[in-house]
């Protein structure tokens, strides 16, 4: 009697080029998978995909919107890459974004109706500090009380949203706003300068780009970056090497929180211009996909943030032109992550089929 035996073995030699190439395979598989879904829904798959991936960026306005959407995703994902590279699972970037926006927005309201070149930088710094403080909570609890940072950071998302709710409904609500839960519009000095007339793309993109270069430098050219990477590969090795684990955990969470906080400030001082209850369509969570799709590499993250933003814009145009439900955008994001994880699995493990003779065992 012979049975087929499936054996899973770890591969020892994974080529780096292939490692950076699999995200592209995942994207291609997502496009194929998307085409099949559109086909089964009764749409012409080629036409649907064209509306999804080409129409949104076929003009300057669309392209600027893509950059606008990618800016916070890129910035948050850069911050997260510090955490993830060092095996710290910060899932609460959404909360850090929200709290950063609260602190930054508070400063903006403080300077309501005032002009001055110093106001915007103050708001950005305040936002970064806000995000940092909020990220320090799970970091301190992890280092000193051994709590699980995944749970703590995730639960804090809801805390931050409730604080925001309280503020925009209550003490910070616009006195002329008919009780609607939103603050006043920020004054011009508290708004990100627009790069072009008529487009919404703003100076926040430079913060994201600066973050990309700084993170590349820190991760690949400094001792701290080396520590982060070693801890990520093996915590034991890091311990033997005598790295101060606790300080590093605090630092990566602070970097991550500051980036998320600045992303929040970019949204409220950029396209939104005030605080209200929905300052982010879950950028903090989507950025987790972006970070992994970008292989936690600063330049990979730029690329990944553009791809993921396109799935958002594509979902809107596909609905406008073909009336495909907008939720397909989330399906696409899910598929990208699924195919990426699946191809990673196949990249790091090989599957062996063996013939296995049970009778032999009995003798």
């Amino acid at each position: 009697m012979e049975d087929l035996l499936i054996k899973i073995e770890k591969r020892n030699d994974v080529p780096t080029t292939l490692y950076f190439f699999t995200p592209f395979i995942a994207i291609i598989l997502t496009i194929i998978g998307g085409g099949i879904i559109f086909y089964t829904l009764g749409f012409n798959p080629i036409e649907a995909l064209k509306f999804y991936f080409i129409t949104p960026i076929s003009n300057l306005y669309g392209f600027s919107e893509l950059l606008l959407k990618a800016t916070p995703l890129c910035l948050i994902a850069i911050g997260l890459s510090f955490c993830f590279k060092s095996n710290n699972w910060n899932i609460g970037a959404e909360g850090q974004l929200t709290f950063g926006a609260i602190v930054g927005g508070g400063v903006a309201l403080l300077f309501y109706n005032q002009e001055g070149f110093y106001i915007l930088p103050l708001i950005i710094i305040a936002g970064a500090i806000g995000g940092m403080i909020f990220a320090l909570i799970p970091a301190i609890l992890k280092t000193y009380f051994n709590t699980n940072e995944i749970l703590v950071s995730l639960m804090l998302v809801y805390v931050s949203k409730l604080i925001l709710d309280y503020l925009v409904v209550g003490p910070w609500s616009n006195p002329e706003g008919f009780n609607f839960p939103e603050t006043r519009q920020f004054s011009d000095s508290a708004r990100m300068p627009l790069l072009f007339e008529g487009l919404r793309i703003h100076a926040g993109i430079f913060i994201a780009l600066a973050a990309v270069f700084v993170s590349w430098f820190v991760l690949y050219k400094t001792y701290l970056g080396f520590q982060i990477k070693v801890s990520g590969l093996s915590l034991k090795t890091a311990k033997y090497a005598g790295f101060k684990g606790k300080t590093m955990i605090l630092i990566v969470f602070m970097i991550s929180g500051a980036c998320a906080g600045m992303a929040g400030v970019g949204e409220i001082t950029g396209p939104i211009g005030q605080l209200h209850r929905m300052i982010s369509p879950d950028y903090g969570f989507t950025a987790i996909i972006v970070a992994f799709l970008g292989r936690l590499n600063p330049f990979g993250i730029i690329f990944a943030s553009l791809v993921v933003s396109l799935t958002y814009l594509g979902a809107e145009t596909a609905q406008i032109f073909l009336q495909i439900p907008q939720y397909t955008g989330q399906v696409f994001q899910g598929m990208i992550l699924f195919f990426l994880l699946a191809s990673d699995y196949l990249l790091f493990f090989k599957i062996k089929f063996q013939n296995f003779n049970k009778n032999e065992l009995r003798h």
Partner: protein
């Protein structure tokens, strides 16, 4: 110099793309806050859209568009992709609608339930839902045994507070001991939160549930608990056949068809519309016979009187929670007061979130 040149160049490209993408076909776009399958607010707007489509005019919709940065892009995309008239069907789209309207003077915009008309191509429209609330209040006041009415509210804006007050005043008229308990969910559509709110109100002794939110979760919760409820925005009867006494129906179809045809024929002009039972923008679904034949008759009579103007939902004397007079005896509240309403009347429990 160079910088300016670049700016002009980009603006020029920008404008050219706009003019190319404009098409000859007359098209109407709709922006929805919830999914078309909410069987409440958005569902009714989509029924209106279908009526426009049936009148031979092409339509497009985008559902579940969040307030904030996304709303402006979606509205802009609709304007840019050749839509000539755009309905933005939630209060929170107010600023985004006006912003986009400024850049597209040839496109007409209609914003539901808002008050800002910053450009001549923006109209606003809403319905006098409070008239329906008066009928609900009358029925609830007669039927409640615990004298406690549970009210699931969305945002503390005048529109919602007006509904709470209209209901409470009508209930007090037939039952002076009535109390209105409110739970704020701070969302228009969140079935989970709405169901929890309904349960919380039932636990606090409410034996009639009504809502100013869009999902069917509250009426379903009421059905399970075996108590009365009222549907909102759309006829929700099939989701809670025993529990629902009646639903306030928003009927946008005639208005949408009229405005779409006016825009197509070039007779559209800016206006601020506030229609009610009289014009049919607010309607009541068939009354549940379980409330008793007499009460059905009373409700139908009240509906007629509200439509004809014989009865006004806000007739004095009306007092606020502290007992200060808001509307004197024999007077009725004017539209200005109704539009800015931001205090509870006597009999409502709790404070407006501030």
């Amino acid at each position: 110099m160079y910088k300016n040149f670049l700016r002009y160049l980009i603006s020029a490209i920008f404008l050219i793309t706009f003019s190319i993408s404009a098409k000859a076909d007359f098209k109407v776009g709709f922006v929805y806050i919830g999914p078309t399958g909410d069987h409440g607010w958005t569902y009714q707007h989509d029924e209106g859209r279908k009526a426009v489509e049936a009148a031979g005019i092409k339509t497009t919709y985008v559902e579940s568009v969040k307030y904030g940065a996304d709303a402006e892009r979606v509205i802009r995309q609709l304007a840019q992709s050749g839509h000539d008239l755009i309905f933005t069907t939630s209060f929170g789209y107010m600023d985004a609608t006006n912003k986009v309207a400024k850049d597209f003077p040839n496109v007409k915009f209609e914003h539901a339930t808002g008050y800002k008309r910053e450009h001549s191509n923006v109209s606003t429209y809403s319905a006098r839902f409070y008239q329906g609330r008066t009928i609900l209040g009358h029925i609830a006041g007669k039927l409640t045994k615990t004298n406690t009415i549970g009210y699931i509210a969305s945002f503390p804006i005048p529109e919602v507070i007006r509904g709470i007050n209209a209901m409470t005043l009508a209930a007090q008229k037939v039952n002076p001991n009535i109390k209105t308990k409110i739970v704020w969910v701070f969302s228009w559509y969140d079935p989970g939160k709405e169901a929890e709110a309904a349960q919380a109100l039932i636990d606090q002794g409410a034996d009639i549930i009504m809502q100013h939110t869009d999902s069917t979760a509250p009426v379903q919760t009421a059905e399970k608990a075996g108590i009365w409820s009222f549907g909102q925005a759309s006829d929700m009867q099939r989701f809670a056949p025993k529990s629902i006494l009646t639903s306030i129906i928003d009927d946008w179809a005639p208005y949408y068809v009229e405005r779409a045809i006016a825009a197509r024929d070039g007779t559209w002009s800016q206006q601020d519309t506030w229609h009610g039972l009289k014009e049919g923008m607010v309607a009541m679904s068939p009354y549940n016979k379980g409330m008793g034949a007499d009460l059905v008759k009373e409700a139908e009579q009240l509906q007629k009187d509200l439509a004809s103007g014989k009865i006004h939902s806000f007739t004095g004397p009306i007092y606020d929670q502290k007992g200060n007079i808001l509307v004197a005896e024999g007077k009725v509240a004017d539209d200005g007061m109704l539009l800015g309403m931001n205090v509870y009347v006597k009999g409502v429990e709790g404070d407006i979130p501030k």
